[in-house]
């Protein structure tokens, strides 16, 4: 049972996870941090979803894009961990999970979190290399779900050094209070760390890795629900799919991803496939998408002097909303510049994006430029 601990030696310090309080013998720990992401965009901020979006009037826009409160730590045992993250701007509980991490090869998690599926989505919005996630995040992400997970790392440091995650989830998205039917969502992911420790779930090689780090990962997911896509708003529908009834859409999807970091250079890619079956109608869908992304820190030697680091990075994205209409595609070309004052915790990012949408089945095409500047600040 819990008794009040002794005051004498509570350890307090500021870490990359904010102010941290730790009781003697590391029994209880609390970390409190916050983050502000402030953005300017022209002529719009959100990626275009369809051809109408290209016709919208231009805007100049300033906004607090993300405002996060983050609390984590452990209680009773160092291996009994918790974490919650709340979006103050939209008043949304994003994460709340409890983790049992007693054995590296066998950990457990329960709660709500970003299910381990794609690297792009798993990387915190505050640790991205680019200013924001790519065009294909929307159709393919599984986003946050509620459920349980088992995960761990096997053969650490060996040739068969794997990380694995297997999750069983309600499959109705963030903050839902019910399921539509008896069917659950199942998601699995395996990382093969064939060189060293694998690549951290964080963009940019800020450490100037002296040994090459690489990860190859394969993930798959299956779900039956009223939804064809998920976001931090919960479940929703892709273009062309009507609002779903319980059990209407059966979705199977997989992704292959790569990641690599070495001497200030970083690389990552994902290739996606997704099939949608409408259990109550003739609708079927087969979607594919990929991105490749790379960046380079220009002045790694300045890190030791406490000076800002500069990075240039680029991304190419190709999305096919329906493989049976192969002439239809959406492309994104993005160039980004980072100025890291204090790593990802205090940085300025600018990006320039060119969108090129082709819908030859309807004889339409459209393209456009966008510029954005973003300041990301954690405390």
């Amino acid at each position: 049972q819990t008794a009040s601990t002794d005051s004498a030696s509570v350890d307090i310090r500021h870490t990359s996870k904010g102010f941290q309080f730790t009781t003697p013998e590391n029994r209880f720990q609390l970390q409190i941090a916050g983050r502000l992401q402030f953005r300017y965009a022209f002529p719009y901020d959100q990626n275009p979803l369809d051809f109408d979006d290209f016709e919208e009037p231009d805007q100049h826009l300033f906004k607090v894009n993300r405002a996060r409160l983050k609390v984590g730590g452990h209680a009773y045992q160092p291996w009994l961990k918790y974490y919650f993250e709340y979006e103050l701007g939209a008043s949304r509980l994003l994460d709340f999970r409890v983790m049992v991490e007693k054995w590296p090869w066998l950990s457990f998690k329960a709660g709500q979190w970003k299910v381990e599926y794609t690297r792009e989505r798993s990387i915190s919005s505050g640790k991205q290399q680019m200013l924001e996630r790519s065009l294909i995040n929307r159709p393919f992400t599984i986003d946050r779900q509620q459920g349980v997970s088992v995960y761990g790392r096997i053969d650490e440091g060996g040739l068969l050094d794997f990380n694995y995650h297997f999750s069983i989830l309600t499959g109705m998205g963030r903050e839902t209070r019910h399921n539509d039917d008896k069917k659950l969502m199942y998601v699995g992911k395996v990382f093969w760390n064939f060189l060293g420790d694998g690549v951290a779930i964080s963009g940019s090689d800020l450490k100037h890795q002296s040994k090459p780090q690489a990860s190859i990962a394969l993930a798959g997911a299956t779900n039956t629900s009223p939804y064809t896509r998920f976001s931090s708003s919960g479940g929703g529908e892709l273009a062309g799919y009507g609002s779903g009834a319980p059990g209407q859409y059966q979705v199977n999807q997989w992704v292959v991803e790569t990641a690599f970091q070495y001497k200030s250079f970083s690389w990552q890619s994902e290739y996606h496939r997704k099939r949608i079956n409408d259990n109550y109608g003739p609708n079927t869908g087969h979607l594919a998408g990929l991105y490749v992304q790379g960046g380079y820190i220009l002045n790694h030697q300045d890190a030791a002097k406490g000076k800002p680091l500069f990075e240039i990075a680029s991304r190419y994205v190709h999305y096919q909303p329906e493989l049976s209409l192969p002439q239809n595609s959406e492309e994104e070309y993005t160039l980004a510049f980072n100025c890291f004052f204090n790593g990802h915790l205090n940085k300025l990012t600018a990006d320039f994006t060119f969108f090129d949408f082709d819908e030859m089945s309807q004889n339409r095409e459209a393209n456009d430029w966008r510029v954005r500047v973003q300041y990301d600040f954690s405390f």
Copy 2:
């Protein structure tokens, strides 16, 4: 006036109320805690409300059922206390109150809180013996209200050892910004602690009380509002009552409750009556309900060894939605198992419930089983 206090001797420790910071001479104190309640349910989670609910398709469900941020302490004086509790999942302010507790026999409170009316509702959802409150909580609870209260304890340790609470409230439920008319809600409650200190507002005898503890309490409430029931969503209507106009429903209700704890055994019960008068129509209602509940810790001697404690508990509930239709009733039979890793602060609970609804006035009956598993974690 407030001046900055000296740093030298701020006391920091972890308590059952989370991390606690106290300035010298106990002038200011701040406690920060959080709680996650994670639940699995089949074939549904919420108690059925009517016969249609028994026909709903079965569900498997995982969800973050509660996600709380709790901040309390005192300021300026040890007896000037505050407390707020925020539900992060639903983005709702539950409690925010300031208390003047200078004299044990005369305390004052202002703000929003769970008005002292029923034991079941007053016990925090994290300190319940059963996995969740009973079937009769919904029709009879007064829930959270905004207003002022006077309360205290008289003849402490004597034969007439009483706790009392008297509250004057807006009577429109949680977070309302206005009243419907000039009429306020009045609620009174008296506990008679005829053995020792009375029973704490917390389920299960985790302390293996060596002396028997008992409380008998009587409470009553009267309110005129557009509502016939309250919940943490605010005001609402019981089945059979249309959406109310200002001043439409006059509700008078009372409850008798008992509580007892002794050597790992704990008991509690409530018997309710409630009358509803429709000031603008012929509708009247007369409702009655009761529950009895008991539990026993199987291995109290393991507490000293720091091992988990196991409890088996059971509850029977009988609800009559309308006393003038005496053949109509709703019953709940529940069996629960608790595994207390760290008391109520870190526990696993499973419950099995059998519902039996009879509406002989309509010649209908229905019954069903439900199983749930819940993990409750405070930090």
Copy 3:
């Protein structure tokens, strides 16, 4: 890059901004505070907006009027500051801003905050002299906006001691995610501190200033948006203006304000003008308003003894909704009494208000009394 700081000497104390944690060399600082504002009102709380409001049935009302969580501090550098404030009752992010305050004469700010325009609105609702802002706050405030600002103080202590603020904002109000068009909001304000340091943005002379303090300020704003007014709910429309389309309303406005404090006496006033042009219709508006307000602490000598301070204060407000209809006006006469237990951080306020509305263009007049009592508590 950020590394974990040393625990040894983290400074902890309670200040007027709550509990404060500071790492060695003042590199990181975190302040956590909360505030509850509890209010009783009769026969209503909100100022009447039109003649119908005078006919509403009387109410007795208790409510948690404000419930704030405030977190501020600095990170990486003492001059890189942050602050956020969240309204727990309405689940609204009010402020979230990052400030670069390296040079007194040239500071920068980005985020969302109450744009520096009127003294009345800039003063925190917890530091007001009166119980609440005046009748003219609603038509003239610019409230919270998202954008960037440059500000500072020039010729400190000299004859030309000025504070200036210049802000470029999206101009769509609190928490908006987009702009309606390319046009932004521009707001400027200049304070001339012709005696000493100027008057702090806080009501009442609690310090019994031994030297007279005075500020004269001039501010102006221009914006094109769908809105004719702003509040903490975001953009909205004044009476007589329909829901706006993108770019519909062009609003230009200015204010002159004075403030003065000396030996327990405090004074402030504002005079406003505002022009509204409807770009899509013939609607135009020309509004004017003023308030004058004064107060006196009756027993300043008791501050040293730690006793409560008492203040009596009064305000007169005159509002002309349309200058071309000069017989139409709205007036407010308010008398307030403060009991400061611990300055603005723990105080009780009562106010009595008389409203007098004349709409001679429609041959209507109405007037009414209101009484309110408020307890404001910060921790």
